[in-house]
């Protein structure tokens, strides 16, 4: 089944490569490689050059990783295949981190030398923001729950039709690699994963709604509209993506009970994942971080007064980890990327990031027992 491996290499490495390469072009224009700058320096030749070299470097690394993977898939054999995809993904992410850090430190030095941020700094907040509709209601997760419940009902009703040994894992040749004796918890595993997904999407939607408002002080009204559109679009996308994931997991018990070929479940999960990955790329490119690429009508009478954002570089460790004990915010926008991150100075943030991870490990281990 080298075909499957080739497909997996393409659907994983190509989108990942595109995303990491595009990041510096999708951030807010007041940030460059994790360093706060004034928007007018965004097109500075030196800074543009950094973006170009970064894109060239990470893009080449992605192409090399893909080519190495395809060569290995064609000429090598055996157990190496299990490690190939994670290893190549790891190599790509390390290459990206190396390029990012190089330019992060160069940006810092450049800012030091040339003073890229105006000392006239302001923070702006709209007192009506909490009344705006920032994300879809969590009630939109009810269809997801309904699918999970239907899947559970199916598993229980057709329990007798499930094979006596459940395949937990296939190797890349498509043969069963690990099986367990049939049990209720084994049969219901896809449902447990569906419920876990619903929990994850609930947390994500909560994050989108409650992440702090980050307005551009030089254009507060425009950035407010962009930011609301940004949040709503991502929230809607999360709901659709979550529904597709939950639906694709429902194919697993159908495949088991009706003895469909294993490829049916694989195809369902792969198709859903591909749609989601494509959606992420399209949405990231069209919205930009914080909605900075969304075109909104310029609100009348909003003069650009050239006020800078607050220089909070010192709270951003390496430009990517926000640690500010004075800031009660739990969620906020990433500085290098599209989407949100947490304030690592808040214990709740740790719980929300690592809680689900611990939960899934516990689920998997308890199923193995």
């Amino acid at each position: 089944m080298k075909g499957l491996l080739t497909v997996m290499l393409f659907v994983t490495l190509v989108p990942l490569g595109v995303i990491v390469t595009a990041i510096p072009f999708l951030t807010r224009r007041t940030e460059s490689f994790g360093v706060s700058i004034d928007e007018r320096h965004w097109h500075d030749p030196e800074i543009r050059g950094m973006r170009r070299v970064y894109a060239l470097g990470t893009g080449s690394a992605a192409v090399l990783a893909l080519m190495a993977g395809l060569a290995a898939a064609a000429f090598l054999d055996g157990n190496i295949f299990v490690w190939l995809l994670p290893a190549l993904t790891g190599v790509m992410l390390v290459a990206q981190a190396v390029f990012y850090l190089r330019f992060h430190f160069r940006m810092k030095a450049l800012k030091e030398r040339r003073g890229l941020l105006s000392p006239e700094q302001q923070i702006v907040a709209d007192t009506a923001f909490h009344r705006e509709k920032r994300a879809l209601s969590n009630r939109w997760l009810l269809p997801h729950l309904a699918v999970a419940l239907a899947t559970a009902a199916f598993c229980l009703i057709f329990y007798d039709r499930f094979p006596e040994h459940l395949v937990m894992q296939y190797d890349l040749q498509g043969n069963p690699a690990r099986t367990v004796d049939k049990s209720y918890s084994g049969v219901l595993m896809p449902v447990i994963l569906q419920l876990f997904l619903v929990l994850m999407f609930w947390i994500t939607n909560y994050m989108i709604a409650s992440s702090k408002q980050q307005l551009d002080p030089s254009r507060p009204h425009r950035s407010l509209r962009q930011n609301l559109a940004f949040r709503r679009r991502w929230s809607a996308f999360m709901m659709i993506a979550g529904f597709l994931m939950v639906l694709s997991f429902a194919v697993i018990p159908l495949q088991l009970a009706f003895q469909w070929p294993a490829s049916a479940a694989v195809a369902a999960v792969l198709t859903a994942s591909m749609f989601i990955v494509l959606g992420v790329i399209v949405l990231a490119v069209t919205t930009g971080q914080g909605g900075s690429r969304i075109r909104v009508r310029e609100p009348a009478g909003e003069p650009v007064d050239g006020r800078g954002n607050r220089d909070d570089d010192r709270h951003w460790k390496l430009g990517v980890f926000y640690f500010n004990p004075d800031d009660p915010a739990i969620f906020l926008e990433k500085r290098f990327g599209v989407g949100w991150t947490v304030n690592w100075a808040r214990p709740v943030a740790w719980a929300l990031v690592f809680g689900p991870l611990v939960l899934i490990i516990v689920i998997v281990i308890s199923l193995e027992m």
Binding site: A125, H130, K212
Partner: protein
């Protein structure tokens, strides 16, 4: 209403917050009964300490500009704001005194000083500030 905090200003942040909310009420940008963000969410939006916002809100509440409910959170005083009394005029005079003194030193006479006050009154009347 947009709240703008100047980070370079000598004025403490809680005082800037207090002043801007009072200006919002005076200009009509904040309507009576309008809900305000909670202390936590405003502090998060501004990226400042909870106590700074808490101090401004407490001060606003003491002066009768806002109400703080356990369930509804903070809202702009829906009823009448306490009218100016002797204590208020005392405070007003105390604050104006150094400004008047400075103005006199710089050759600003009473008429011109009052003109500036009149202009400010007009700006609030039009809702020109903070809207």
């Amino acid at each position: 209403m947009l709240i703008r905090i100047d980070l370079q200003s000598d004025e403490p942040i809680y005082q800037q917050l207090f002043n801007q909310i009072v200006e919002g009420i005076a200009s009509g940008a904040l309507q009576p009964g309008e809900t305000l963000p909670s202390v936590r969410s405003l502090a998060a939006d501004l990226g400042i300490n909870l106590h700074t916002v808490g101090k401004a809100y407490t001060h606003l509440k003491q002066e009768g500009y806002i109400q703080i409910h356990r369930q509804k959170g903070a809202l702009v005083q829906p009823g009448p704001i306490p009218e100016a009394d002797g204590a208020f005029f005392g405070k007003l005079e105390k604050r104006l005194r150094p400004l008047v003194a400075e103005a006199i030193c710089r050759g600003v006479d009473e008429r011109r000083f009052c003109e500036v006050c009149g202009r400010l009154y007009q700006q609030f009347g039009k809702g020109g500030i903070g809207a």
